[in-house]
């Protein structure tokens, strides 16, 4: 039986897999490498080279000088804080009501939320755009986040958590004179902090990467998120590949950092929300 593998085979296996992964990510790594090259070097290079002959920062300098990249990043962060803040309050509120109470019409209201998931945001994009614009909310932060303030996924995740709380907790709290809202704010919500934290990490990737709705809402440069700013970079300095790649790298680094650090939570959130549905 050759079932036992030797250490050497293991190491070779690891290296082969690592090379496959490296190849898979090569478009990204090469983008980083090319973003440190001068324009002339990019044009003169025949074929593909892994490293720049001389690494320069001029593309990054150009981006920071000519594009309001910090404004874009600030807008993206504000975007995230507003959506996440609203989602934490509204999703947990809704989830709590569904998990902790028996009331007339509960099933109908719950189905309402299930039905809403059957209508993708892309299908109602145009009418939402007309509506939000007619309220005068184009080019405002509120307009840019308003369609994302609740997520059905968030409601389901938190509902699942609240339903797992032992009934004794509630009874003991009621005996001590703690009302429904008090129990939510003082006990259930604090207990759900780990769930909310993993939701917040997962949502960072989603919200930071939002593209279509902010594109429709923001027509002023001062309102652009980093994604929209990226898009405009292409138009600004049409064919300068180094600059465009530098912009892409600046845009990708924060979100990939969060992803790598928080991947455990992101994967947990994905898997629990996904396959069951």
């Amino acid at each position: 039986m050759k079932m036992r593998r030797t250490t050497r085979e293991k190491i070779i296996g690891f290296i082969i897999r690592f090379l496959i992964a490296l190849l898979f990510l090569s478009p990204f790594f090469l983008s980083v490498s090319y973003s440190f090259r001068t324009d002339t070097e990019i044009m003169m290079t025949k074929g593909v080279t892994l490293f720049p002959r001389k690494a320069v920062l001029e593309n990054y300098v150009w981006v920071f000088k000519h594009v309001a990249i910090f404004t874009y990043l600030k807008n993206s962060m504000l975007h995230y804080i507003m959506i996440m803040g609203a989602q934490i309050i509204l999703c947990s509120m809704t989830a709590y009501a569904f998990a902790m109470f028996e009331f007339k019409g509960k099933k109908i209201l719950f189905n309402l939320i299930l039905f809403s998931m059957m209508i993708p945001g892309e299908v109602v994009l145009i009418t939402n755009f007309l509506q939000v614009q007619s309220w005068g909310l184009a080019n405002t932060y509120l307009g840019m986040v308003i369609t994302a303030l609740i997520s059905s996924l968030g409601i389901f995740t938190l509902r699942q958590f609240y339903m797992s709380l032992p009934k004794d907790f509630k009874e003991a709290a009621t005996l001590d004179g703690c009302g429904d809202i008090g129990f939510w704010l003082r006990i259930a919500l604090p207990l759900s902090v780990p769930t909310i934290a993993s939701m917040a990490i997962y949502e960072f990737v989603t919200i930071y990467n939002r593209y279509m709705w902010p594109l429709l809402m923001a027509n002023k440069e001062s309102m652009y998120t980093i994604q929209i700013g990226m898009d405009m970079l292409k138009g600004a300095e049409s064919d300068n590949l180094g600059v465009i790649l530098a912009g892409a790298v600046i845009c990708i680094v924060p979100v990939v950092t969060v992803f790598v650090i928080g991947q455990k939570y992101i994967i947990k959130g994905m898997v629990s929300g996904g396959v069951k549905g």
Partner: protein, 296 residues
């Protein structure tokens, strides 16, 4: 009637508690305002002609749809949407399956390349399109690497595929994770049994792991198909749907007719078509899932 009589004493005994209703008000308002009402309005607008501000001016019945269905462009876009979905759906699945298969046995050090396979899922369409330009430009990476001179982003023969391959790259990460979870859940005993029966690694994977992970396999294929219907940024930034709608899918048509041309009535008609496409796909998914998926 009888039922009511039974319920009422119970209700009387318990004092009516308004708290859950109050707590649900924001959610109900939100979903009504941003999902149900706009959906109803989309249906309505699709049967009218609208002005520049999106206000309906005239009821035209089915004319908008008749017009769409008589256009060869519409059928090209419709076909593109499905070709794109098929390439993205199965392409992503096959590559993610390969990656998940080589990572499925848990070993120390796995975390590193596992993370690497997952990373593109964190990359948004805008920076991905910048990377796409770098790959596909006439003087870009692909042409340099293969000594070709293909116009990946402007030649109608290639544009749809160029966008689709970039989309696959972006989508592999999440599919990889779902499949990895599925493959790892396959019991070691069953696999060892297969080894004793003399099945090689490939056979073991095809005959044991894959069927046992069929719920995840199914989920991933359809996740990517429905996801591909919503792929917008890369189409807008790489090809703009061109040339001559050759890389345009329904989602881009909504944007083009609604936002670029302010023909909101036509954009709403496209929206409804997209809705039905997604709706029917999810029905097919549920139907096939019941029939084909192997549950223990």
């Amino acid at each position: 009637m009888k039922k009511k009589e039974q319920i009422q004493p119970m209700l009387r005994r318990r004092r009516f508690n308004p708290t859950p209703y109050l707590m649900l008000i924001p959610a109900v308002i939100f979903f009504t305002t941003f999902t149900f009402y706009p959906f109803a309005k989309s249906i309505y607008l699709a049967f009218t002609l609208t002005d520049q501000k999106g206000i309906p001016k005239k009821w035209v019945g089915l004319d908008n749809f008749k017009f769409l269905f008589s256009q060869s462009d519409f059928w090209l876009i419709f076909r593109n949407t499905f070709v794109f979905a098929a390439i993205v759906g199965f392409g992503t699945f096959l590559i993610a399956m390969f990656f998940a298969a080589i990572c499925s046995d848990e070993k120390p050090g796995n975390r590193v390349y596992q993370t690497m396979f997952a990373i593109p899922m964190a990359i948004a369409s805008a920076p991905a399109s910048a990377i796409g330009m770098f790959l596909y430009k006439q003087s870009g990476l692909l042409n340099q690497l293969f000594h070709t001179n293909i116009l990946w982003l402007t030649d109608g023969k290639w544009t749809l595929y160029s966008v689709a391959f970039l989309t696959i790259w972006l989508r592999i990460g999440s599919s990889f994770i779902f499949l990895l979870v599925g493959f790892r859940a396959v019991s070691k005993e069953v696999l060892e049994g297969a080894i004793i029966d003399g099945a090689g690694p490939v056979r073991r994977f095809l005959k044991v792991t894959l069927p046992l992970a069929s719920p995840q396999v199914f989920f991933v294929v359809f996740l990517n198909i429905t996801g591909s219907f919503k792929a917008f940024g890369q189409i807008k930034m790489l090809t703009g749907g061109g040339p001559y709608h050759k890389s345009e899918t329904l989602i881009y048509s909504i944007y083009r007719t609604g936002i670029l041309q302010t023909r909101f009535y036509r954009a709403c008609a496209y929206s409804l078509v997209l809705f039905f496409v997604i709706f029917i796909m999810t029905r097919i998914q549920f139907f096939l899932e019941k029939k084909l998926v192997f549950y223990k």
